[in-house]
């Protein structure tokens, strides 16, 4: 019962973006995937949610093959992806953005219930339900993006750089929420981050990508202690 990625290779045209990557995420675990720009983190995540095509290898969630499927079908297996850059639809209201997350579910009552759950996690969204999403601040948009993904009651959340372009205080708040979601709701999370320190602090374990390959992986504490990781990604 876990996310199993093995020997995954992904090409962008002639460029090999992800090269022979393997790792496992156990249920209820928060795994940080860190690495510098162009390390292949985003490509990896997009492939897991069906947006990109893999060249070789396999990736399964609870036995469901994630490759060779479409994103709109993968989400039905409980895999929810929050793509890079505050993935909300600015032209729609906060309420509509949230509804979008559960739109494929036939059961309306359930989706209403989960909406109140989400506004209890992010009270600020509850205050702004009828505003258009483009009136929100950056942090609120990121909350909305996560909230939308949570609406479908996912079992695993794929988060792509939630800290991007946000003020340090807001980042801390969002990271804390992600940690709480994992602990209290039993959600499995794959967190892709450039903010390596922040991500490793809340994560159970980490995978360090470098030029498309796994450089190091292990428990978050061991990675923080690793002198090489510290020098290259944590900056001290």
């Amino acid at each position: 019962m876990s996310l199993e990625v093995s020997q995954l290779t992904i090409h962008h045209g002639a460029i090999c973006a992800v090269n022979d990557v393997s790792f496992t995420v156990k249920q209820g675990e928060l795994v940080a995937v860190i690495g510098s720009n162009g390390a292949g983190k985003t490509t990896l995540l997009r492939t897991l949610s069906g947006l990109n095509k893999a060249t070789r290898g396999s990736a399964t969630w609870k036995g469901h093959n994630l490759l060779h499927s479409k994103p709109e079908l993968i989400v039905r297996h409980g895999v929810s992806h929050v793509s890079e850059g505050k993935a909300v639809i600015p032209e729609l209201t906060v309420n509509e953005n949230l509804e979008l997350g559960a739109i494929w579910r036939k059961n309306k009552k359930e989706s209403v219930a989960s909406k109140s759950e989400i506004t209890s996690i992010f009270p600020r969204l509850g205050e702004r339900l009828n505003q258009r999403a483009d009136t929100l601040s950056g942090g609120e948009r990121q909350m909305l993006a996560i909230g939308r993904a949570l609406m479908s009651k996912p079992e695993i959340l794929l988060l792509d750089e939630p800290s991007l372009g946000l003020a340090p205080l807001v980042v801390e708040q969002i990271f804390q929420t992600i940690r709480d979601l994992t602990t209290s709701m039993g959600l499995t999370v794959v967190l892709v981050e450039q903010n390596a320190m922040g991500a490793l602090k809340i994560a159970d374990s980490g995978v360090v990508l470098n030029l498309g390959k796994v450089a190091v992986s292990g428990s978050a504490t061991s990675l923080i202690a690793d002198p090489q990781v510290r020098a290259a990604y944590l900056g001290y």
Binding site: L51, K70, E72, L100, I103
Partner: protein, 302 residues
């Protein structure tokens, strides 16, 4: 005074028909980011379906839904077997921006040639369900007949239904989400491909109504070579652009503006400016407000 009112009434009725055509263009633009120059051809084909229904069943109220269903089916067919393939193939390369435009023009030509070879180049007639003789006020006859009233009411009802669908239903939310951000829509579990087909079908149905009304509102006859058809071809596009291409309300306003301007130009300036007037309006709008009357800030340039 009576002339002014009549011009106004003629303009509003014609404009409401253009609105439907503009809505069709907008629906397709929103779902696939393609300007469908074949929309008028599809409307023409649908009108022939309506005509066949009239011939066999002799009721306008059956012919109209038949035309709508036919138009929706034709549009869905084109989207499924043709546009998907085209957009995949022409996504890159030197003429990627131009290819869809050229392809829809090709479609227009094919549909035109096919309808003309099946039904012939001569006019066929569709009789409206109610009289097109104007109401009279005292000694004056208004240029507003039961038929025009019917057209206006039907268009208003259709537009209201459509906006209800878009604003209040989850299908409408899927349509809007897919239009604004296909990627987020897919990640939310929306089958964007199916939604696109649906957008095209709605456009096909809307264009079909425009074609039927354009025919009965004119002299009741139409053919692939009639002026009615050329007018649908340009008016839909121009009205949609005036309205900003992305907005349904904009399309309605654009249609009305276009209808009124044409009507007043014809009455007060010259009847031979019939086709040049829309062009001039289009240029003026594009120069003054490139984003349309109701338009997002997204520029037309990129």
């Amino acid at each position: 005074m009576i002339q002014f009112i009549n011009t106004l009434l003629i303009g509003i009725t014609a404009g409401s028909i253009y609105s439907l055509m503009a809505i069709a263009i907008v629906l397709v633009w929103r779902s696939t980011r393609v300007i469908n120059f074949a929309q008028a051809g599809m409307a023409l084909l649908s009108t022939y379906f309506g005509y066949e229904a009239m011939v066999h069943l002799n009721s306008f109220w059956i012919a109209l839904p038949v035309a709508m269903a036919g138009g929706a089916a034709v549009a869905a067919f084109i989207e499924l077997v043709f546009m998907r393939f085209l957009l995949k193939r022409s996504a890159h390369g030197a003429i990627s921006g131009v290819a869809p435009i050229i392809a829809t023009l090709g479609l227009l030509g094919v549909i035109r040639a096919l309808t003309s070879s099946i039904w012939g180049g001569q006019d066929v007639r569709i009789v409206g369900p109610v009289s097109n003789v104007g109401y009279s006020i005292g000694a004056n006859t208004l240029a507003f007949s039961p038929l025009k009233l019917l057209i206006l009411v039907t268009v208003i009802v259709l537009v209201l239904l459509l906006s209800l669908l878009f604003q209040k239903s989850s299908i409408g939310l899927s349509l809007r989400a897919s239009a604004f951000s296909p990627e987020i829509a897919r990640l939310s579990g929306i089958r964007v491909d199916a939604v696109r087909t649906l957008g095209w079908s709605l456009a096909g149905a809307s264009g079909a109504v425009a074609g039927m009304f354009q025919t009965v509102n004119g002299n009741g006859s139409f053919s692939p070579d009639s002026i009615e058809f050329s007018l649908l071809l340009v008016s839909g596009f121009i009205a949609a652009v005036i309205g900003g291409l992305d907005s349904l309300i904009g399309a309605v306003i654009g249609g009305l503006v276009l209808g009124l301007v044409i009507s007043f130009v014809l009455m007060y300036i010259s009847s031979s400016l019939f086709f040049i007037a829309p062009f001039v309006i289009l240029l003026i709008v594009l120069f003054l407000r490139p984003q349309g009357i109701i338009g997002a800030k997204a520029a037309r340039r990129a």
